[in-house]
Amino acid sequence: MDKRLERILPRVQKPARYTGGEYNQIIKDKTQVDLRLAFCFPDTYEIGMSNLGMSILYHTMNSLDFVWCERVFAPWGDMYEEMKKASLPLYALESGDALSEFDSLAFSIGYEMAYTTVLDMLDMAGIPLRSADRPNLLPLIWAGGTAAVNAEPMAPFLDLFVVGEGEEVDNEVLTLLREAKLGGWSKREFLVKAAQIQGVYVPSLYEVSYRGDGRIAAVTPKDGAPARVTKRIIQDLDAVPYPTKPIVPSTEVVHDRVSLELFRGCVRGCRFCQAGHVYRPIRAKKPETLIAQGIEALKNTGYQDITLLSLSTSDYRPLPQLCDGLLDYCEPRSIGLSLPSLRADNFSMELMEKLQKVRKSGLTFAVEGGSQRLRDAINKNVTEEDLLHTCQIAFAGGWNSVKLYYMLGLPTETDEDIVGIAEMANQVLHCWRTYAKNKNRGVKITISTSCFIPKPQSPFQWEAQISIEEYLRRVNLLRSSITAKNVTYNWHDAETSLVEAVLSKGDRRVADVIEEVWRRGGRLDAWSDYFSFERWMQAFASCGVDPAFYANTEIPLDAVLPWDHIDVGVRKAHLLHEREMAYASALSPDCRHQCAACGAAKLLKGGRCDG
């Protein structure tokens, strides 16, 4: 171990997250591989090690015998300070080697608030931030993750993005990179070739021009790069490798458990939801595959918990079969099974009782909108009856805590909708009074609101976000409408949401702001401990970028969008239609009732969704 590191570690909080050496880590002989890859997660170890995507790709990239892929996370503030003081560069956990020894850094960027951390990690590795300032092929700096659906704000920093699911395309990029390294190609030569791989977006091969009103005039591809980059998906999830030997952290992380991914995509089409659109089409795994993989992973990790992950777990058709299969293994071993993201509308008593045998936690419902009209407008197919019916079952079954999540500032929202939130909480309370088995323990109903963020590649991508003042007005209206004392109200601040809106919908000009925020000390902005709204506002001002232009201004429907050249499958015409339906407060059927021909099916070999 590096002497400097040895001296630092006893002084920092939770040093085990900075040492590597965990069970199931992958160690290779560095002299026997052609490429050393640093897989960077721009957030803390605890968050990154809880990320299933990271775990999957660590294993798929390491399945290439010419690659040694190692993990890198962002140090927490105390460690960061110590590393700076000791001039200790960022290093990878498996080998402990500084990132300067690596051929490539691949970032997994799942959320916009991680952008400043990406820059910070590059800097801690001693790597110039901008692609243009890195003339050589190596180190190649690339990224994937949800942020790639609008990569523009990060475009100047990264050499290449992969759009969509990474299991196959990442390995194709690495295979080409190896050829380029061994063949002595120039960076340009490599990037031009890489742009021919489906799902690869090379920002430097696209010229962006702007109009007088600040909107984009055109995005022009060069050197044979495709006009639109089509995202990659995995055709057969049962066949794609799932890490049944994931790394087991030696210190507590956010999700200390086995995670099973039931399916990708979502049949629902909630109009505010980016994930529901950009991960289409829906593809499910077979319950047999999941049960086998789950049991193997439990054996290989020693975890005492297993959780089912997906955008909407209850839409998994063989859910009862899957739960039975897993419970057969879990129950005798006191292993807990948890199912997040169950929907209110088809929550079954039977399922709840099964889970109850093992573990019981509070109920959470993402209701999103306060009235049926608004929920229709956002295509969130939850009715008050569904919700109350579920609550009735839950209260009768002994549950006594319910959390209700809402967004304020959704398109078409009125004050009446907001007051409706408080009314619904009252209904839930009434339901508890009527049906609770044991009233002595009391009930806890929590309402949470956050400020709606319009997201690229969703039907609301053109929408304006409400201002911070307006959000606070709505918060106060809701606050004064809540009268029952068993109902608590938490609201998230709108300042982070404003910054997130700018970063989500930004174009390449926003890159300067991200860099400026980082120069002013910004990193780990996803953490309220570190996020500074003032710093962002100062950076916007000093770069001459108006955040309201990106966040609080409606985009004309005929404008060229910064992300128009990224094709996630769903057609723009479909999004536009969904937007019109929203303004008519009209529901659209989900994929299983009627295919809306959104366009995503074209990504499938058979051309037909499982629906």
Partner: protein, 219 residues
Amino acid sequence: MDKLRLRFKKTGRAVYISHLDLMQTLQRGFFRAGYALKYSEGFNPHPLISIALPLSVGTASECELMDFRLKEDVDLAELPARLTAALPEGIEILEAYEFTRKAAELKWLRVRGVFEYDERDAASMCEALREFYARESIVITKKTKRGMGETDIRPAIREIVFSVEGRDVGLEAVISAQEPTLNPDLLPDALRQRQPEIAPDFAKFTRLETYDKEMELFR
């Protein structure tokens, strides 16, 4: 099987695993190796394991002891290798046996330490250290359960020998494990408080051996 004890090493990168995390890590290791630990009864069952004398983070050990119980009878001879294979780097199970003596009978620990001096001469430091620790009493202020308090740490040191090891000073000491417990980190801390000019720039320790009050090996 009840009254089982493991003796294990915790070295290398594993020294940064905290006491609580180590318990969790070992539990998972048992599970992965296919051994069923016995759990407590009651509302919130937890495995019946306990590690004697929690190590501070950063300190290595060649002689950790953990008591545990298993639901079924197993071959104790093959347990160490099987469990080690199911544990992270740096944790090595040396033996598993049925114990006869309670961990409370453990009294003395042999520790090895390294004092690193960046700018100062190891030989003269070594000399000064010998003198310092030859004192009859070394009173320092340290955190106690009731806030800051004065303690004489000298009686808790049974032997202490210093030697020059290249640019560093090595030490080997026998210190009190319990009643009172002397955390080896207090050895350099005492210097920082009483004679900072010979306090090392960095110090690290390894536990080597466990003894009872008669200085017989404790197992």
